[in-house]
Subunit: 463 residues, 4 copies
């Protein structure tokens, strides 16, 4: 139920006669990583087809629109924009005209030195078309003295710092690359002669491709007519995989960073039950994001799992509260409590995280009205106290309820009988060993430094 | 996962300053009863506002559209159309100009003598505007010699036979009525001075109204400035509540026919586990429709409940298979199996019904590919062998897999290790006692007779 | 430049493989008779295709929309709605379901006893779907005891009074009919085996059909597989052709009531020059409606014709004044004066009529600013003092400037140096002899009586 | 009636509280210079509002869209695209992010060395976003070492050659500039404290501004908070004003290159009558473009001017021939001959130019069918034999009928009784003396040389 939002899902595909359709399928599977807009660019020799727009993949890419695409190489992107700057010009894939060819770039992550690089290049006459940090990569690439797209890309990426999992193509070569820390996921799949690169393996499943492996932190993978080859990182550093991909962002049926998400989430629930048991009659989830953790909690605690909240699947994304008189509507339309399940019961609610706390507060109110006698909230991650600067759309520190409130104050605010968070130790215990994680949002110790506040909004304000 | 479709959800509301907005909320809650189109009509004294269209409630009723409505009485309708005749002119509520006023009618159900009545009235000069059976009610009402809307409605309804749960208003009076058998549900709610009539109680929850009671079979409820009064049936007959409302159509968080749906569905799963046990490692549902039954099965069998299929909530309703090469896409986009849950496991899949069997066959294939070693299908209702003529959009008899195949043949077709259906006895045992049910789809013994085949399509062809 | 608006253009076509496309072309040619909305209904045996909407023909009937039509018989309609009641439900052709077939009706004119007839039928149980007077014809037709569509139509038309030029079809027969007075035009054309019935001959030109003749007042023309036959009026009365069709409504390139419009308009200008000469340097028109009359004035007076106003053809119909600060914008966007033509000149402006006077006042101001030293306004018709109740959308009497102001007061209001109207005698002298005209708008002596005020708005209010 | 198309209209406005609305009005007036798309960019301090799209100004800039604009400085553009490359990405004003500010550029004309410049800059790492030649100006500007926008613009313009009349702003300064030859027009207007720069004076009229003067060839005009100042050309060369602006492109009510268009066009008709008299009964124009010339011809020849063709103002721009069976439709829908005017007459048709001849051929056929006994075509300019490379969308040389056919062959092809063109001498005699004209389209002697063929399409192909 987190209101943290992943900023993007990316996919690239090489050598398939229906490249754009396949990429569209992948974007369907990655829709949870970004729902504000989407785009596809396909290459048919020198001819480029593209469509980008605000809205869901299924609304944007009708059969009619897909029918206009041609070519065997394609790149796609799902975007989550920060509220207020949801603008058409900021959609990806970015397309750049460059030396008689075009380049398409889809980027998941956030560069922390984009503003500095941009200012420098602007001093030298560069023209930018968008407010996105990703655009500096295209410019660095164009200015590189590298002999070909691969060398230029390596050169460009050596100058940026921060988080990037990106897919890039000029129609002849498809490149997939992750930053040296490996904040965001990116994996490789194969379907006969076709290669697919995607944020999560669930996109491979939908196009019918087989999961091959995760691209390594700092690695660049190059696919062209000659096959696939790997360009390893020049100076390997300790990886910092975003642990929140396991807690919330990725789909449970995905393999992310080389490991199955569902199993990890189940384990989070189990350890949560051990660490913070509750006296209760039933365990419920906030469907669908905390289903796995809630099942884990139920399993370990022995308290039966029940479906206490029904989620309405037909809520339009564009729903706007019609009148001030009708409050809390978005939550009420999205979730309805099942009175017969809840009435007279002591309820454990398992959720993945609390950001601002406002939605959870409304849900608790609904549960009580439906007859729950006690509500015990169990969160399968530690309190979020710091914003993420590596690609997640987070509120400012001040808006994060845990940065300014004690657990007890949060309990009072949410009007629950008890609230407890999984410890960082148990979170790390649940995740695969030896990967190396970024857990900065829990303690503020950021693995990649930045001088100025590297938020996208700054880029936009100044540009 | 049933591909049987409820044909409509209806709602009426009396005395609320934001009548149309409230009705819109109710239609959100009733979206599962009809997703092809929706409509709202509101009355502000003599002035009528209306909007009807094809699509989801959230797409049709934007704040801008809602802002154009005025008045304190409103009627709403969600429609499921039969494939191929999804036409804008067949949307409801029906609006009729009649004697210096307008009447709006929303109807859930199907009249079995509509064609005969229509032909007769056309002989006498009546003009019809649509192909809907519901239109005959408006004409009967206009031709009645009754003194007021109530008498005329009673007169009109005395002439039609079949299934109807309807809401009707001329802006001064709001009428709710159910046919003598009570096939379809219709209940009453109160929110301060406001009265709401809706197909299911989940619509009351969303508008914040309290559930009062079900309208009785054959009863007509009249709400006007003087309050609410009941017109009891002239000749009570034995009721025939549609038992499939409990199996599949209604939302689990609703009270339908006076009883909580979730509890009944849970019980279906429990009895199914008793009647048809399976040797297996896990129980999974086809989310979200069979969740309750699967939990019941797990509970009674002791086999752990797992989430083995992830449902993609972003699938657009307008999704059309892009190319013939990419088969089974709709199912694959909608559901993705969780390999980590399924791999190496003997799986019990609990579902509510099998209509044609085509979707289930694809799901089973997906489960096996994800590593399930055995698939045991358990259905929480008996085999559907006969079409419904009382308001459900069913395929012809020939298309119902159970009408022409034995259970063993079905097992072979679906490629499952075992398949078993709940018996009619256990289905009835699970449902509340003493209500009286229509179970014609299981045995073909139709409670309300019809001479000619009463399908909507006939009306359209001939008109 | 008149702001009187014709309410409709109608067209029907029998026996052409692309019936809907041909009708669409005809509606293009008749666009000047109604620009608020349009509709086409085509018949392909029992199958009916239709599209009706608000907007211009070229916007509504895209190749894609036209591609959905099938059949060899079609009926079309252009509508001008009165301001404020421009509602989608009032679009034509009307479609009625009636005894296993459908009927499409397109009506130009206004019935003066529609309200009485409607009330009577509603007493007997009739249901109306729109606020249009035309709908009573369909009901009368359905209630008739006539043996076939032709007899029923004759029967129905014998009961209505007022103005109607209508086209009607059930797919097998196409009927064209004019009221006994013949207020509105309706003519017949032939293109090989195809028969076309249209408001004006310019529609025949566009579909490539040859003009045959005007349908006579009171005549009904029936086209079916057996050919074309005429049903003459039962009781011929003295005709009352709307003389304003010659002054303003019809296109100058049309033959209307059997005579060429351009020649008559030219003659109006000539007699105007004789009756009200002016001392001036140039004669200009208000393009394009008064071009013919201005040329006639120039010819007879010897004062050279000049183009002093340029009309902007790209003004969208939906243009709305953006801010109150920018006044008179619609006029200024539509017309721009040519300073080089006007500067230092005494200018005769010839226009066809003055309704409210507001637009002319703005134009005069523009002419003076562009350097005209004197402005002499010459109107090619008498002062309009009474509303039309036979199918023209006129303001109320109070809004007609000539009903409450003397010619001298009008001169002062418009700020012109002189203003003069053609006399009724000269108007009638210009028009073809022996036809019989309605000139009620000039003197208020209405040829068809009505008890209550027969305005469309009344129907809508009461229904 | 020419099918040569002006490629653009531009407008800029400084210091008006409703800058975008005013620019929108100006674009309405300039709609004839480009009808494929339009755009407006406004500046409110650092905040930029913009909207660009395909379609007419009135369709794109609804009150709702205009309401979103803020700021007191704005730039607008109407675009005519070459067929086939009518793409959204090629719309103007161009917007470039550059050093914490944005720049908007609107360009009318065509640069002949854009491709060379672009290739050079791409070698140095520049990224282009569009296929438009205008984009090189923005890049040159960004790369300039000039101290401010004015110096940078001067620097950039010193490097390009070809035709440009452009308007440029960064929100603080508004710049208007014309190339040294002055191919395309650009004039200055004042409305109180507001300065307007526009392609033609008709745009000034509509916003209520007074015409001040034409910007001189090679001049750059700079408007900022300090007022207006002029930057004269460094090295003045002999001007080459496009003489076709007088023949066809500009609106007759405009002042262009400092002179009134209508008077010049009238003179063209007069000299045409002297040079190529005809024995005929009437003179007609092809409305509205040749009205002035036809009046001049009538005046000098003494043959009466008549309106023989009616133009349908409602033809949608998106009209597409519905079926191959219905040929010549676009012409037939756009123009209808007036039989009463034409029948039995010897007709002089005055038109401004013949490009391919196909449309004229259809018109002649229509005139003959309407009864014209003789058709004498008189063209108010010499034969067009060479394409324009300075901003007009012309067909290739091979498609220009006059480049490969003698006048006599053209007569035969068009099926006219005689055809005659105005001589180049008389064309120049009609135009204001001492301006200096480009007449390359008549003889192929291009005033600004180019090595490679400088067509926009090349840029697009290669980029």
């Amino acid at each position: 139920m987190s209101t943290w939002h992943e900023e993007c899902g990316v996919i690239g595909l090489f050598a398939h006669e229906s490249a754009a359709e396949m990429v569209c399928l992948g974007l369907h599977a990655l829709q949870h990583r970004g729902q504000e807009g989407a785009g596809i660019v396909s290459f048919d020799g020198g001819r480029v087809s593209s469509h980008r727009g605000l809205g869901l993949v299924s609304d944007l890419f009708t059969p009619e629109v897909l029918g206009r695409f041609a070519g065997s190489v394609a790149v796609g992107h799902n975007r989550y924009s920060t509220t207020g700057s949801c603008r058409a010009e900021n959609l990806q894939p970015l397309i750049a005209h460059w030396r008689r060819r075009k380049i398409a770039l889809a980027h998941n992550g956030n560069l922390v030195n984009a503003l500095e690089l941009r200012r420098e290049m602007e001093e030298n006459g560069a023209i930018f078309q968008t407010g996105m940090d990703s655009e500096v990569i295209v410019h660095l690439l164009a200015r590189s003295s590298g002999a070909d797209l691969v060398e230029r890309t390596r050169d460009a990426l050596s100058q940026v710092s921060g988080a990037y999992s990106l897919v890039l193509s000029d129609g002849e070569t498809l490149i997939g690359a992750r930053d040296p820390r490996g904040f965001r996921p990116l994996c490789i799949g194969k379907l006969e002669a076709t290669t697919v690169i995607a944020s999560e393996s669930c996109a491979l499943d939908l196009v019918g491709a087989e999961y091959v492996r995760e691209i390594a932190p700092g690695e660049m993978v190059v696919i062209d007519a000659g096959g696939l080859r790997s360009v390893p990182p020049a100076d390997p550093v300790e990886p910092r995989h975003c642990i929140f991909e396991y807690v919330y962002f990725s789909r449970p049926d995905s393999i992310v960073f080389g490991h199955a998400v569902d199993q990890i989430r189940r384990c989070l629930g189990q350890l949560l039950a051990e660490e913070h048991p509750a006296e209760a009659d039933i365990v419920i989830s906030v469907p669908d994001s905390s289903n796995s953790a809630a099942l884990g909690f139920s399993e370990r605690s022995g308290i039966p799992f029940e479906i206490g909240l029904i989620r309405n699947h037909y809520v339009g994304r564009t729903f706007i509260q019609p009148t001030p008189r009708l409050r809390d509507l978005r939550v009420r339309i999205k979730y309805n409590p099942v009175r017969q399940v809840l009435e007279g019961k002591r309820v454990v609610v398992v959720d993945d995280s609390i950001v601002r706390g406002t939605t959870m507060r409304k849900l608790v109110k609904m549960l009580r009205r439906a007859g729950a006698t006690e509500v015990h909230l169990r969160i399968s991650s530690p309190p979020i106290q710091y914003p993420c600067y590596y690609g997640i759309d987070t509120p400012t520190r001040g808006e994060l309820i845990a940065s300014s409130h004690t657990v007890d104050e949060i309990r009072t605010y949410l009007r629950v009988d008890s609230v407890a968070y999984l410890s960082l130790e148990n979170l790390i215990r649940s995740a695969p060993e030896g990967l190396g994680y970024c857990t900065a949002c829990f303690h503020g110790d950021y693995p990649v430094p930045f001088e100025t506040l590297p938020r996208k909004e700054l880029l936009e304000e100044e540009s």
